[in-house]
Amino acid sequence: MSDLSFVRTEMLPEKAPPASEIGIVGWLRHNLFSGWVNSILTIISLAAIYGVLSVLIPYVFLSVWNAESLNECREIMNETWGSSHGHACWAVINERWLQLLFGFYPPEFYWRPILSLVLLVVALAPILYSDRVSSKLLIVTALYPFIMPWLMWGGSVWGTVSVAFGFVAGYLVLKYATEALGELFAMIAGAVVAIVWWLFIAGMFVGAMDAILPIALETVQSRKFGGFMLAILLGVVAIGCSLPIGIVLALGRQSHLPIVKWLCVCFIEFIRGVPLITLLFVASLLLNIFLPPGTNFDIILRVMIMVTLFASAYMAEVIRGGLAALPRGQYEGADSLGLDYWQSQRLIIMPQALKISIPGIVSTFIGVFKDTTLVSIIGLFDVIGLTHAIRADTAWNGIYWELFAFIALLFFIVCFSMSRYSMYLERKLRTDHK
């Protein structure tokens, strides 16, 4: 052993990593300056960020909040900063934000759209956060489609009640007649009862109830609807109705019945092949031509119908993708359990297909919500239509950026939250091993 001059008997203590590899310096080296290409990119990016922020920050924060007109705004800017450029005049938002949100809706009734929105949140909560919110709230969800139009448009409460009662009557007939008549005839009987109620009895019922107990909200005309409220209204209706219609269309397109299949294919491809604006032209110019002479119903209702049809066709394609992505074994498994068509769709196929298509469904929702701005082209006063109206006022003639920034912010908040929610939902519903 003596010929070995030195043998280490114990381990050396671990050394700290070099200072250039840890902490902020290490992070910078790895993520920003890992090579000369990356270093150049980083420097260019920093320059770009500086360029944007050096304009944006003074614009947003060194701004005028209180003024009567654009000229007054500019005078204040000239006095304070010596130049009227590069500073925002948020006074226009300060003065007109209620109009941008509600359009020409009568101010004394602003509580009605606000209450509708609050109820919407309550109605959506048990669906969106089913694990945290009591399912008792689903009763609000069921009643919401009847309450919301009444709140928004006003009128007698009994009209709403009678419409809802038609559904209840149909459902009751379906439930109690199934044993006596069989499912199919019970369904037909339910539909007949509901239609008879709506067409013949509901009018008398409303008249009688109005005489006995008049409960009514003051009517608000459709042409007073506008602003961001209109976008939300159209968006909610189109989103809410397009999902069920889309599911039916997707099933129709996958069907083995050739005529049903081709009807669905033609509808979907036609709607997807034309721009939404042409469908809105149909709503504003043509829909009356195709209805019995003398019918003249509300422009907002017509737009809602067309936007819903538009959204349904896109929804159908998204859901069809989900259906196609399911392995055949799922269909065969459902068949071998002896489930009939609707049972297997409801219990086996749809839950999985819808889960697969969540990202597509939510991006369709976002797309529809953004597309509601197109109604400004057919002359409705949504947010973008209102910017023209505000600019037509001599006090605010020539104001662009502040209004656009405000609108963009509104849409960004809503759409961005929707896309984040879809990511949350995907994570929550993921059942495979992570």
Binding site: L184, P275, I289, K370, C415, S419
Partner: protein, 422 residues
């Protein structure tokens, strides 16, 4: 005497239409068809009654009446004395122009942004994320109007180019004038032009094609064909001898020499825009409406394309690039030979629908006053003639045909790059 019982004869009963699976599907279909035909007949009947009451039965005669309005941005010659059909044709070409330009720029920006979002550079990746989220979550109509407002409010007035102490000047060596009324760019002129081919005579659809343009396209096609031949020969030589002959100078020569010779022969020169009086004369005038629409549509669609490209690249497993590295391929060859061909299969189908969306969104041109198909046929013509039904039907039909054509072409391309499964 036979004791065998007859097999039960199955007689048709009405109830079997509902309860027998063999007949039920036929019943459902007949009912659906009847229902559909009833609804359609009801709608058509209503339309006929209503149109007769209004005193304007369906007729397409208005298409051959003079249009009576001007279109400022156009590819073919047109005046307000031309007929409505020609106005619609000019509009259709304008739609196709903006859709074509938009698809190209959106693809370029989208691919760059999509790749940069995957960059290892933290800052660059974040900036690209901000870009994508910003454009995806704000309506395209707002972007179009915003772009238009920026162009017409923030760019220098033509007035400022004039006079002794002009505050603005033309950019790019005095060839391009960027003004608040649009951008003036040089135009290609031929002093020894070969003239035009007049197609379709004097009708509303008359169409002039420059023979110069045809000559250029033919020469370019021939050059590309020759370059391919050269490449194929080089590959053959490489396979036979193992060494690839250097051909880049031959390729460049084949591409450029005939083209330059042709351009010289045609007397090619640039027509520069010049300030004359109150306006720029000469050159090509790209109006704000076109540029705003093009810019906004490209940037908006690029945000979606970026996400598709990113998804496509992420869908290729890292095993593929590691295998390519193990084979000794350089990073750029890995990208072009291994990653991209596989990513393309994932990328192309959603890309088709984005191109279609861009084309359909180009109908928002009406918001900035660009005369595309919606602006002419569905806008001024509709308002002047009062022929809502005919105009909107034609409009939908044309858009439907464009959509079907684009998806047919892209599906054909998709078939070509698709994985061949055996």
């Amino acid at each position: 005497m036979s004791t065998l019982t007859e097999p039960p004869v199955e007689r048709f009963r009405i109830s079997m239409l509902l309860y027998d699976a063999r007949y039920r599907s036929a019943t459902i279909q007949v009912v659906a068809m009847l229902f559909f035909m009833l609804v359609a007949a009801w709608l058509v009947n209503n339309a006929i009654i209503n149109l007769n009451t209004l005193g304007k039965p369906i007729s397409f005669k208005f298409l051959s009446n003079p249009a009576g309005y001007d279109i400022n941005q156009r590819l073919l010659e047109y005046s307000s004395r031309d007929i409505n059909l020609r106005a619609a044709l000019i509009g259709l070409l304008n739609t196709l122009v903006v859709a074509f330009l938009g698809c190209i720029t959106a693809t370029i920006i989208g691919v760059i942004v999509g790749v940069l979002r995957l960059s290892s550079n933290w800052l660059v990746a974040r900036i690209m994320t901000v870009y994508v989220e910003m454009f995806r979550n704000v309506p395209v109509l707002l972007w179009i109007i915003l772009a238009w407002a920026i162009l017409s409010e923030a760019l220098p007035k033509i007035k400022s180019f004039r006079g002794e102490n002009a505050t603005s000047s033309m950019s790019l060596f005095d060839t391009v004038a960027v003004t608040n009324r649009g951008i003036y760019i040089p135009e290609a002129l031929f002093s020894r032009s070969l003239g035009n081919v007049h197609l379709l005579g004097d009708s509303g659809l008359r169409f002039d094609i420059s023979i110069d343009l045809i000559a250029i396209v033919v020469v370019l096609a021939l050059s590309i064909f020759a370059v391919r031949k050269v490449k194929a020969r080089a590959t053959a030589v490489q396979e036979a001898t193992g060494e690839r002959p250097t051909t880049w100078y031959i390729q460049l020569g084949i591409l450029f020499v005939p083209m330059i010779a042709l351009l010289v022969a045609l007397g090619f020169h640039l027509g520069l825009p010049e300030l004359k009086g109150f306006n720029f004369k000469g050159g090509t005038h790209l109006r704000n409406s076109l540029i705003a629409l093009w810019l906004a549509l490209s940037l908006y669609t690029a945000a979606f394309i970026a996400e598709i490209v990113r998804g496509g690249i992420l869908a290729i497993s890292t095993g593929q690039s590691e295998a390519a590295a193990a084979l000794g391929l350089k990073p750029n060859r890995t990208m072009s030979l291994v990653i991209l061909p596989q990513a393309l299969r994932v990328i192309i189908p959603p890309m088709i629908s984005n191109y279609l969306n861009l084309t359909k969104n180009s109908s928002l041109a009406i918001a900035v006053g660009y005369f595309d198909l919606t602006g002419t046929l569905g806008g001024v013509t509709l308002n002047q003639t009062g022929r809502e039904l005919e105009c909107v039907l034609l409009l939908m039909l044309v858009y439907l045909v464009i959509s079907l054509l684009i998806s047919a072409v892209m599906n054909w391309y998709n078939k070509r790059v698709e994985l061949v499964e055996r």
